[in-house]
């Protein structure tokens, strides 16, 4: 019998290690996080920053296309410069990693927090609480994410830090599916005998929720969260495309993509750099998420219910 948790952590790592793709992905993700964290250092080594304009590096008469080959790649500008502004692309890319990863991660944290609270409360609460919360979750799921994001992002005063806001808005709108998963999983766990045993010990409901249920939710929640992160990166990019994402001059990959998509023909590297970065990140995170899922084995939970001898359907 295998189970994640205190004793399962070692098993988890052991199983994760056996998956080569997941390991490679983990290394890539670690590198990306490192790049994001070390952005100021990296740009200092390059000797550039993400916001300074270099009008002399672009051809003003031709719409501001970078002068020089490969979008103005040089010893000073490792990945060339941005059309129109001449800002350093390497600097913008590495600083963009901070925003893209940070927003996605923070949004995921918000989603998971709300989803777990609502899901657990619905599963453990009375019939009415469950009805109310489940219905509310349905409402949230049925609302078009983009539209609500557009409205919410417009309401909040612009003095509010934008990346935080974007993360909050994504988190506040898109927690429906995780709440549903948590509710279903909690209901399953609630039917398990060890929860009944904890009740017989005399513990109160909230303590049972914290001690007995939450650890059991860890596996499916981590699994789902691992898949949410790349999704949120794409959502941030899409919000930028619609013009309500992170605001300039803060660079984000989504915003770079948005600005760059029309430059596909005139300055391809301008589009390919953020697109490539996004692609690699989402790919690595998704593969890693799959690896985590395999290592945590979501079916462990359902297998818990299967005895070795007579099977009987629990009616309670």
């Amino acid at each position: 019998m295998s189970a994640p948790g205190a004793s399962g952590a070692r098993q988890f790592w052991r199983r994760l290690r056996t998956q080569r793709a997941a390991l490679v992905a983990a290394v890539v993700v670690a590198l990306l996080v490192l790049v994001a964290l070390a952005a100021p250092l990296l740009t200092a080594i390059e000797g550039q920053d993400p916001t300074t304009y270099h009008p002399s590096l672009v051809d003003s008469a031709r719409g501001g296309v970078p002068i020089g080959s490969f979008g103005g790649v040089s010893a000073d500008h490792w990945l060339g410069v941005e059309p129109q502004t001449g800002r350093d692309l390497f600097a913008r890319l590495v600083y963009g990693a901070r925003v893209s990863l940070g927003v996605a991660l923070a949004a995921t944290v918000v989603q998971v927090a709300i989803g777990v609270v609502v899901g657990v409360a619905a599963a453990l609460g009375s019939r009415w609480v469950d009805q109310l919360l489940s219905r509310f979750t349905d409402v949230i799921v049925a609302m078009p994410l983009m539209i609500m994001a557009l409205a919410l992002l417009a309401i909040v005063p612009s003095s509010f830090p934008r990346p935080v806001l974007v993360a909050l808005v994504i988190g506040l709108i898109a927690w429906g599916s995780i709440a549903k998963i948590v509710r279903a999983q909690t209901l399953t766990l609630k039917g398990l005998d060890y929860v009944a045993a904890a009740r017989l010990s005399g513990w109160r409901t909230w303590r049972i929720a914290v001690r007995e249920l939450l650890p059991g939710l860890a596996a499916p929640v981590i699994t789902y969260a691992a898949l949410l992160i790349p999704q949120n990166i794409t959502v941030e990019a899409a919000l930028s495309f619609l013009g309500v994402g992170v605001k300039p001059p803060t660079p984000s990959w989504g915003q770079m993509l948005t600005a760059a998509d029309v430059w596909y023909q005139a300055a391809p590297q301008y589009l390919l750099l953020p697109a490539g970065a996004l692609f690699v990140t989402v790919l690595a995170l998704t593969v890693l998420g799959d690896g985590v899922r395999t290592a945590l084995d979501p079916r462990a939970a359902s297998r818990l219910r299967v005895g070795t001898g007579r099977k009987r359907e629990a009616k309670a």
């Binding site: 019998m1 205190a6 017989l200 001898g309 007579r310 309670a316």
Partner: protein
Amino acid sequence: MSLVNVTDLTVEFGSLHAVDGLTFRLEQGAALALVGESGSGKSTVASALLGLHRGTGARVGGSIEVAGVDVQAASDDELRRLRGGKAAMVFQDPLSSLDPYYAIGDQIAEVYRVHTRASRRAARARAVEVLDRVGIPDAVRRSRSRPHEFSGGMRQRALIAMALACAPGLLIADEPTTALDVTVQAQILDLLHTLREETGMGLLLVTHDVGVAAESVDEVLVMRHGRAVEHGPVSAVLGSPAQPYTRELLGAVPRVDAPRGHAEVPEKPAEAVLEATGLRREFGRGKRAFTAVDDVSLTIRRGETLGIVGESGSGKTTLGRMLVGLLEPTAGEVRYDGHARVGVNPAVQMVFQDPVSSLNPRRSVGESIADPLRARGEADEGRIRGRVRELLERVGLEAAHYDRYPHEFSGGQRQRVGIARALAADPRVIVCDEPVSALDVTTQAQVVALLGELQRELGLALVFVAHDLAVVRQVSDRVAVMRRGRIVEEGPADEVYDNPQNPYTKQLLAAVPALDPRIAAQRRAARRELAVV
């Protein structure tokens, strides 16, 4: 030529030797039972006969010849022709062994067409024919049903029908009755017996239940750790076992016909600790509502054991959960110590059926056992650890097991942990819900013995809920028989077992397999009569 000829069979999964040098034969039309506890390798042998290990990474050594096919050397095509065509297998769990999405008739027809190239129509006709043959009433209509629309016994009949479809020479039945109620089990065993008489096919029966083997076969091969322990005619092996392990195994099997060893009748009834009056519990609402427990009244006295016996769906688990307060009754009340009670009460504890799901896999067993102590407000870490260690030792584990996790224990050990946790609350009543049904017979006997000891020592009242009539008799002072949510008969254990009044109780007792093949034959005849009546 023998139907099955296995020589020096070994099956290895990685470093695990599941089967280790097994040799046996089965003649045409004969019946052999592979008997053993879990982990003895008996099911692995059954799979190996059909070459099911091919391509799974298991290493199979030795030679296997089934119905003239050298399973080890056969091509994939030959193997496919063997499977289902010459030798067919019946599995343990009939619900999961059938595809839930297709009609049963179609599934049988599919198998038939694989082997005969018959037309769709002919295959369907054959499916109806075999379904009819295994006693499915209204086979034409029922062949269009999906597995979930069948009862457990019907599903097992359907699986047997699938096995019969291509008229194979050998039927391999892997625990065919383990998931079934005792009365249904008897019907299936009778069916297998009749089919064998009529078709003359050979039977290889894999079972953990010595009684089932005694009912069905001519020869027995007792296995342990992948090796043969004892092999011989059923009457010889079960009647006068030569090997110590066989003797141990037989000794552990509870007997439905033997009275409880230490039955000491108290002079005057002790005071009642738990009383249930008019308990009723409904599930669901509206059209789907059904009553799981209906007007049950019980009294449990200090120091006594009340056995509650019934088949699946009889409501005994629901009753047990209401007694401990995990479920609120729809009507009626449970009184503890003369006071009406709502919700749980640490003085009334429970031992659960499934030793896997009853312990939180993410917490050490010591922590789980300490729960009632902490919930009671005990904060002194030293006292808690001390008490838990004491309890661990009391249930036959080691004090050092405190920090271990459930997956490091065997099923029997986990059940001991469960008992220790119940004891930690200093209970006066423990409701045991099928506490041993998931355990092997030898372990089962040990756990039953432990419960008995604890009861005597601590003056506990026990409620022992089980489907196994023999086990219940072994432990109970009084017995209540449940059927469809009601208690149909209640009384002192020996009276109920030796002189049952209710026809259902009689039917149940008649269905229990006997260890003596001669008695088994008599019972079979008796069952036919009961069925006629």
